[in-house]
């Protein structure tokens, strides 16, 4: 079981120059500490226009800063939106390569297609075709990183024969992942030999079933890259307090803040009927299922909030379900003071991490 951090970079109103900067500074300080504690990876998502919820439109820049202040932690460039109106695939390949070079080969790439009307309409992108453009992008990226020269003619983009530079530092190329919110997307990941980067909590039994099917399908995959990444990652909240009462109270507050802000966004399904975004695919809804007023007791048990023993129990359950990695959201809208976030991380490093991987980070 590997542990990571997951950043949306949420900035509460009122917005000032300093409040934006403080959120970024605090996140960098957390990443630096996580690196020292032995966390394996830090992810930053690409989002646009999502007021308060996420002020992270350029994750590769934030991750470059992360790489500069850390030694070992891997940097997850993702979710990068694989929709041509958002990002040209050449630029994704190039930016990934530069980040991989600057970080000394520590990049992982998470791919996705955005799930909000707020963002897709902001870029004038049609929700109907995002899955197709994503598919085209993920098949091209490994070839752009590994072929000396590359040319392509597709439905969503084309280019004549050119040398895409620089090449990635890792050989053959960084591990690739797919953001999984809608049930079934993990199978799209499996069919292409890509890691399943889960962004929802769900329940133990449901996750176990989905992971088992992913494992079965990926045995039969036709990988889009040079190798198969058969890992399953999930996301979770983390607040580790001295005891359950303190940890749960503070952690629930953070989770509720997160859900409240997520619910303000306009999902594609709310406004735009499309087969491309099936009913359970809403990131905010699924997160609410896990932590909101409708949350079941079982889902509550899966959250990494509370004292060290409770969190260890939850993570052991996820491990038994087949999860390889858990990425943690540490704060939302700065609802937890930075000193407490750092203390929670330290306590997790001291009391919880040794219970996994034979105590080795």
């Amino acid at each position: 079981m590997k542990f990571g951090l997951f950043y949306e970079l949420s900035v509460p109103r009122p917005w000032t120059r300093e409040s934006e900067r403080t959120v970024y500074d605090n996140a960098l300080e957390q990443v630096k500490l996580a690196d020292e504690l032995g966390f394996d990876q830090v992810w930053a998502v690409e989002h646009h226009f999502l007021e308060e919820y996420s002020h992270c439109p350029a994750p590769e820049l934030f991750l470059t800063a992360c790489a500069m202040v850390t030694k070992r932690i891997r940097v997850g460039f993702g979710i990068v939106v694989c929709v041509p109106e958002f990002n040209h695939p050449i630029k994704i390949a190039e930016r990934t390569a530069v980040l991989d070079i600057l970080s000394g080969g520590r990049v992982e790439v998470g791919t996705g297609r955005s799930a909000t009307w707020t963002e897709l309409a902001g870029f004038n992108a049609s929700p109907d075709v995002t899955k197709k453009s994503w598919d085209e992008f993920v098949r091209c990226l490994p070839r752009m990183w590994t072929s000396e020269k590359f040319e392509f003619e597709g439905e969503f983009w084309s280019m004549p024969r050119r040398t895409i530079l620089p090449k990635v530092y890792q050989r053959p190329h960084p591990p690739m992942w797919v953001a999984v919110t809608s049930p079934g997307t993990e199978l799209d990941a499996a069919d292409r030999g890509l890691g399943s980067l889960g962004l929802t909590f769900g329940q133990f039994a449901e996750q176990e079933k989905r992971i088992a099917e992913y494992r079965r399908r990926i045995q039969l995959c036709e990988p889009v890259g040079e190798f198969v990444n058969d890992q399953v990652s999930t996301v979770n909240f983390l607040y580790c307090g001295e005891d359950d009462a303190v940890g749960l109270k503070t952690g629930r507050q953070m989770a509720n803040h997160f859900n409240y802000l997520a619910a303000q966004l306009i999902s594609v399904r709310e406004t735009y009927p499309s087969k491309s975004y099936p009913s359970l695919g809403l990131l905010p809804q699924l997160r609410r299922q896990a932590t909101g007023p409708d949350a079941s007791e079982q889902a509550g048990e899966g959250l990494c909030l509370g004292g060290p023993e409770r969190i260890t129990r939850a993570l052991k359950r996820w491990e038994a379900c087949g999860v390889d990695r858990v990425n943690f959201l540490l704060n939302t809208a700065e609802s937890i003071p930075q000193a407490d976030v750092l203390a929670s991380l330290r306590l997790f490093g001291k009391e919880v991490m040794p219970a996994f991987n034979g105590g080795k980070s």
């Binding site: 999502l50 309409a121 409240y260 802000l261 303000q264 306009i266 499309s274 087969k275």
Partner: protein, 245 residues
């Protein structure tokens, strides 16, 4: 914390529908046809939105024109303009204006569910390439819109957001949640086209349409249900919601 509505309640208090009570009986409404269009609007609609609610990001409205061929009052149609919002974590359509096609329907909608309904003429027509609706009142066309190039979709692809009305109940202003059930039989989607919209006729003077989003039309069995929740209009819904039943 997200932005809240900024409605000065006193400015509209006198014109609010007066509800008899919250013991409204449900109406079964089979075989309804629902035409819905969504459209982004320019910033500035917060002054129309009660302080209990948050505006959607970005701000948008929905136009909902429904033909009810069967109801306890006989056939009638209802057209609504709704400012889309959030009641805490729940998406809701705050009803700015409503037109119903018969005097009995107007009275019932105002007294039982708090709709700010007035009487008008509503036409909902299906053509080979569009589904069009027109609303007229006092000799003027106040809304003309269409779903263009219909394409059949699954009923599961449509999402209907519950409504919220603002009415007086026992003398006090209350937000009333109206949350119908839908059993869909047919559904199509298409491009949204609004060719005429007179905001002042819908209590929506600050609403300026910008980007059309989508349109859908369905045939469904639905209802106007019993009232389950009411909210204080000036208090965040997390603190100001009351369960009626």
């Amino acid at each position: 914390m997200p932005v809240f509505g900024e409605l000065e309640l006193a400015t509209i208090a006198d014109s609010l529908p007066a509800m008899r009570d919250l013991d409204t009986e449900a109406w079964e409404l089979p075989k309804a046809e629902v035409l819905q269009l969504a459209c982004e609007i320019a910033d500035g609609s917060c002054a129309l939105l009660p302080r209990a609610l948050h505006p959607a990001i970005p701000e948008y409205v929905t136009f909902v024109v429904t033909r009810y061929p069967e109801s306890p009052l006989g056939p009638f149609s209802l057209a609504q303009v709704r400012l889309m919002a959030r009641a805490g974590v729940h998406p809701r359509g705050y009803v700015l204006g409503a037109v119903a096609s018969s005097p009995d329907a107007v009275t019932a909608l105002r007294e039982r569910w708090g709709y700010p309904a007035v009487q008008g003429e509503i036409a909902l027509r299906r053509y080979h390439d569009r589904v069009a609706a027109t609303v007229r009142r006092e000799g003027r066309t106040i809304l003309e819109l269409a779903l263009v190039d219909p394409e059949v979709v699954s009923g599961g692809d449509l999402q209907y957001i519950h409504g919220v009305t603002l009415a007086r109940v026992a003398g006090a202003a209350q937000l009333i949640q109206v949350d119908p059930h839908y059993t869909l039989h047919q559904a199509s989607r298409g491009r949204a086209c609004v060719s005429r919209f007179e905001p002042e006729a819908w209590n929506a003077v600050l609403v300026e349409l910008t980007t059309p989003i989508s349109a859908s039309v369905s045939t469904c069995d639905t209802d106007l249900p019993r009232i389950r929740f009411v909210m204080e209009p000036e208090t965040p819904v997390v603190r100001g919601t009351r369960k009626v039943r």
